[in-house]
Subunit: 137 residues, 2 copies
DNA sequence: CTTGAACCTAGAGCATGCTTCAGCTCTATG
DNA sequence: CATAGAGCTGAAGCATGCTCTAGGTTCAAG
């Protein structure tokens, strides 16, 4: 029922050193320990780790993830704050996607520019017009 | 016709210290200098800086951006490599967008979960099922 | 009981991308 | 030509997120 740290690494693909780092940083509150002091991860610890990985993929800083996991200790009292946190994450992710799509447009145009330039064997005379206001939004 | 560094900061919104850092790091080859040694940015320098900002927004590391700007010195000889670089960037950006969309799904589900939990005043009995294979792709 | 693999901790180290500092020079204005 | 604001440099410092090291402990197989 309990997993050793090496099993967690294997199952989730998170390096052991990183798991211990998260624990040290307070992202994994109250991991059980064996008599000898070795960590024993429960299923819900694994789920939390997966959620942490997800939050990291949204570029959420460690300190904010810690804030979230510390809220879990408050139980239902912190429901509203946790909800707000996920709404904020949703917004942050959307913002990042939109930002990436904007640069994707410019990259696309650069690709087309270089296609034409390689075709012609030279950049001379290949037209290029910067996109105005890319960074103003 | 030439811009001082403070004007570049104002026009592009890039901190002066960062511009100098880029110069030091070789991202801005051959910026002209006044008699007294002060930088004089041309229009094409500004365009390069904007492109650099764009590449940074794709999370391209400084060292790769330097590689690109150094290619510019080779003129038409480096056209093919520069084209490949933009194609690779396009791929990288697409990958990031797809990754973000995947986590967005999970975040959405967490939002719905917390909506239900807040509504009920408790997490007890609010169903939650992890998405399998989110990290396997 | 022995022994080697797996664990543990505290603390140092590292890669990235800036940012700050100290001390000095340039330049535009009255 | 004085001077204040803007610029310059090399070097140190900082924030983030790991990653590695050294030295010791635990655990499971034989």
């Amino acid at each position: 029922m309990a997993y050793r740290i090496s099993e967690v690494e294997r199952k989730l693909g998170i390096p052991i050193t990183t798991i211990r780092y998260y624990d040290r940083e307070g992202l994994l509150p109250h991991i059980a320990r064996s008599e000898g002091g070795q960590r024993e991860f429960s299923e819900s610890d694994l789920e939390l780790l997966q959620l942490i990985e997800c939050l990291k993929r949204t570029n959420m800083p460690i300190r904010d993830i810690r804030r979230f996991t510390s809220l879990l200790a408050n139980g239902d009292e912190s429901l509203e704050e946790r909800r707000q946190m996920f709404y904020e994450r949703r917004r942050a992710v959307q913002e990042q996607i939109v930002g990436l799509q904007a640069v994707a447009d410019l990259i696309d145009r650069k690709c087309a520019y270089y296609d034409a330039a390689v075709e012609a064997g030279t950049e001379d005379g290949v037209s290029w017009e910067a996109i105005e206001g890319l960074f103003s939004a």
